[in-house]
Amino acid sequence: MSMLIHQLRYDQKAFWRNPASVFFTVAFPVVLLLIFATVFNGQTIEVDGGIEITAYYVPAIITLAVISATMQSLAMSLVIAREDGRLKRGRGTPMPAWVFIAGRVGNSIVVALLMLAVIALLGRVLYDVPIPWEELPAILAVLVIGAASFSCLGIALTALIPSQDAAAPIVNALLLPLYFLSGIFIPDDELPSGVIEFANHFPIRDFFQAFFTAYLPGGDSGLDWGNLAVVAIWGVAGLLLAIRFFRWTPRSG
């Protein structure tokens, strides 16, 4: 356990010093929030009986930020470390494999929690979107289950990525369209029902719905067990695939 904290400390150092990881997981969601919320500010949308569009975008962008901090960031950084030979090198030490993986997942969850705070605060300060403090336990529960599940999916995804150069294209080709189709970038009342139906087959939509429900102040919000369960099932599937197909040695050479 103390080795895990040790590993996490150095993972955090390396993460915050890497300009690419900081840009994609921290700066990018913030920029997206500023763009969407500023451009569409003042509009209301037909979701949940009519809400401010900014109140829609805050949980939407938090959803995106959590997925970037976990699935996207892990898939890319693990492939880079694998192809550099660092994973193989680490396996030649007494460090148990689970410590390494738990360190990386822990790192992702820490960043995801931080992004929750950053986006929620920006939403409150810039766009007057209330932070639903009374829902905090539900929000944290959804976030942690989502972050863990998307971490597992990210680790599983590394098995499909053959090289460092292929990491960003493959990850983005998977995630970007699904962000659009799942109502992260375009509010779902403006999306055709066929699109939503398609997106419903993938966990981003479920995670977004579960998080949106938890984040919506008052009303009948709270835990959306159905969607959350789907996210968790995807997470477990990702975990099993990761255990079966994850490799520590470089694909090239």
Binding site: M3, H6, Q7, Y10, K13, A14, R17, N18, A81, D84, G85, R86, K88, R89, R91, G92, T93, P94, M95, P96, T249, G253
Partner: protein
């Protein structure tokens, strides 16, 4: 006779139809620097990765520190140090942080400052590894293998691609391991590296050991023929002889008596490089191992 640190008997490894390692026998004793010398594709990395526990052998017996690497656990990995043939360290950690990270994996690590000193990175300890030169990164890599204070170190081609100055510095670091009492298993395709560092060398070609012994005796160099070349009246002549003194005497006598010049006269003993090239030229094709006993 103490138990050998590495003991290999009849080691074989196949990838599909290709046999990369075709029956190797070796023993490495405690405190010795052992070099595994051979051209690319000879089976060096395959063998060393079997010893490190990364690959599974097809046949034969292997014991490293008394255990089978395929089944050895964390405690065993704490007793070995590994430098892979190619590994890029985390570019965003400093040299010191990289060592501290690895020190945390071992129960009784060597002090990080001491390791920095050992690998000659005292002035660079707080630079990020991405800013170190190739040679400095490699020495840091050796440091990361040393920080757990292992009994046995594997170095897979530690200086490939280095400029001469960086190689010399890496050699100093590796030679310094002897003073720490470490056993070192080194692979290289540089003859001079093996000669400079190793107590004993095994030359590998086509997955088999074709020669072994102390570097100065390797390939039975002393009994190899001397080659005499010159241009005489009949053109270019090349003679191989095991009795060069007599042959030269006879040759110069004839030249004086008959009044012709020995233009471009050269007397050449085979260099270590010649021996190495000859031994590794035809991999496996009837190569007969030449055993050289240590005096």
């Amino acid at each position: 006779m103490p138990e050998p640190v590495i003991s290999i008997k009849g080691l074989r490894k196949s990838y599909g139809d290709t046999e990369a390692v075709r029956g190797i026998d070796l023993e490495v004793s405690r405190g010795e620097i052992f070099a595994f010398l051979g051209p690319n594709g000879a089976g060096k990395t395959t063998t060393v990765e079997i010893l490190e526990g990364y690959r599974q052998r097809t046949g034969g017996e292997v014991a490293v520190l008394g255990e089978d690497p395929e089944r050895a656990g964390r405690e065993w990995r704490g007793r070995i140090g590994i430098v892979l043939q190619s590994c890029r360290l985390d570019p965003y950690l400093t040299a010191r942080e990289s060592l501290e990270l690895y020190a945390g994996y071992y129960s009784d690590p060597r002090p990080v400052d001491e390791v920095i000193e050992l690998v000659g990175l005292a002035g660079k300890a707080d630079d990020r590894t991405g800013r170190l030169s190739g040679g400095q990164q490699r020495r840091l890599d050796v440091g990361m293998a040393l920080v757990g204070d292992p009994e046995l170190l594997f170095l897979d081609e530690p200086t490939t691609g280095f400029d001469p100055a960086a190689r010399r510095q890496a050699w100093e670091t590796i030679a310094g391991l002897r003073e720490l009492g470490k056993t070192v298993f080194l692979t290289t395709h540089y003859m001079d590296e093996a000669q400079r560092l190793a107590d004993r060398v095994a030359i590998l070609a086509g997955g088999q050991v074709v020669a072994r012994g102390a570097p100065e005796e390797l390939g039975d160099r002393d009994s190899q023929p001397t080659v005499i070349t010159y241009r005489g009246p009949d053109g270019e002549v090349s003679l191989a002889t095991t009795t060069p003194v007599e042959t030269l005497n006879e040759l110069t006598g004839r030249a004086l008596a008959e009044g012709f010049a020995l233009e471009g006269l050269e007397v050449k003993r085979p260099s270590l490089e010649d021996v190495y090239l000859e031994l590794t030229e035809q991999p496996g094709n009837g190569a007969v191992e030449q055993e050289v006993a240590r005096p």
